[in-house]
């Protein structure tokens, strides 16, 4: 399957899983909202330019927003993590040229610890910004801190499960850049 087709299918799948499964679950607590959808942006290939990353993230976030009746909220958070992604990847990539040898960020291409640091940092930015925007219209500081921490915890758990269930085998490509 071509990489483009795979990513288009993933786009649709992530939105549907978020809207029809995770948002349909009975709420546990007001601090906990199970977010998984932004993993799509973390899985996009290394080779995409920063501008196209942001463009895709914007459209992706906005499509979720239209399902949730919050136009712009998730789009803003998605664009932020798409913008920060290359910085974090450059900081965390361990092997020389791993971003050339592998297709996209994953446990195989980055290693367990760097990959989960990468996920954790971007999760924190995503939730921090998202809850901050929510907090501006209502809520208290305790709400802000509590929700960022609790939601980040739940998201990390969901991402860990997703990574283990759908383990992505990444082929090592030769150094032909």
């Amino acid at each position: 399957m071509s990489e483009l087709l795979k990513n288009i299918l993933r786009f649709i799948l992530f939105i549907f899983v978020q809207v029809f499964i995770l948002f349909k679950m009975p709420p546990l607590h007001r601090f906990i909202t199970p977010y998984l959808y932004y993993l799509y942006i973390l899985w996009l290939p290394f080779s995409m330019t920063r501008a196209s990353l942001m463009g895709v993230a914007f459209i992706f976030g906005l499509s979720l927003d239209y399902f949730m009746h919050t136009p712009g909220l998730h789009a803003a958070a998605c664009v932020l993590i798409a913008y920060l992604r290359p910085f974090v990847v450059n900081m965390l990539i361990s092997q020389e040229g791993a971003d050339k040898n592998y297709l996209s960020p994953s446990i195989t291409s980055m290693g367990w610890a760097p990959y989960f640091t990468y996920v954790f940092v971007l999760t924190l930015f995503h939730h921090g910004y998202l809850v901050f925007l929510e907090w501006m219209s209502f809520g208290s500081f305790l709400y802000f801190i509590g929700k960022v921490v609790a939601t980040t915890g739940i998201s990390m758990l969901l991402i860990l499960l997703t990574e283990l269930l759908f383990f992505r085998k990444e082929k090592f490509r030769t150094n032909t850049v």
């Binding site: 948002f23 239209y66 399902f67 913008y83 209502f138 809520g139």
Partner: protein, 284 residues
Amino acid sequence: MRNVFLFIRKYSNFLFFLLLQIIALGFLFRYNKYHEAAFMNVAGEFTGSINQRYSKVEYYFRLRNINEQLAAENLRLNQMLRENYERPAGNEKTILDTVLTDSLREIKKYTWLGAQVVGSSVNTQVNFITIHRGTLQDVHPNMGVVSPQGIVGIVLNVSDNYASVMTLLHRQFKVVVKLKNGGERGTIEWDGISPTYVSLKDIPKSAKLKNGDSVVTSQTSSIFPGNLMVGTISEIVDDKSSNFYTLKVKPATNFFNVEYVYVIANAQYSEQKKLEDSTRKKFQ
């Protein structure tokens, strides 16, 4: 001039980032203020039709539940058939002299329209349901929405065939309700804490109440007809610094499985709204 281009080229990514942020935040704050978003009409049709496909599947698993709800509602309705009709004036006696039309005749003020719920959320701070009925089927913003069990929310946005309804579980939802026993009026709101409770404010401390009392709609809201079930009191919070109670109310509607709702059109809504607005203007 060359430096300007160099600057733009050097920071093109950052500028693109800023541009997208501004567009996104523009959508968001404009929507919060006026509840009308860019492309909401087109997107509403699209997301509505996907939601509908999904709910078709889910529907079969809930048939039993829906049946029970409808049976209970039929029972309730049979006990109060003339509830939707209202006399325009009070009970003073009018002596007919030369007036030919009877000014006391009843008008049908509220019209009920059925609709199926095709999408819903309860997890966020701004919860909506989507119903399969839109402008082409006479649904307009600011109409009340009720389920067989109790009130659900207010229509906020409509496209051709779908409408989004702001439920009681929305941080900006506010409607005037009253206690069934004493008739004291208060405002119902949601504090965003738990989707199983909403809060009722501004009930004077002179009101006699106890846990389990019913809260019903008040005809003063102009959106809902009077005496529709809202919920039951589950906790009375006694704030010593104020003359008003804040009550925790358990909504009668189960937002997790609501399938069929009624949209209520008030034939005199715009007239009443216009009068109230112009009165308010006189004192500003």
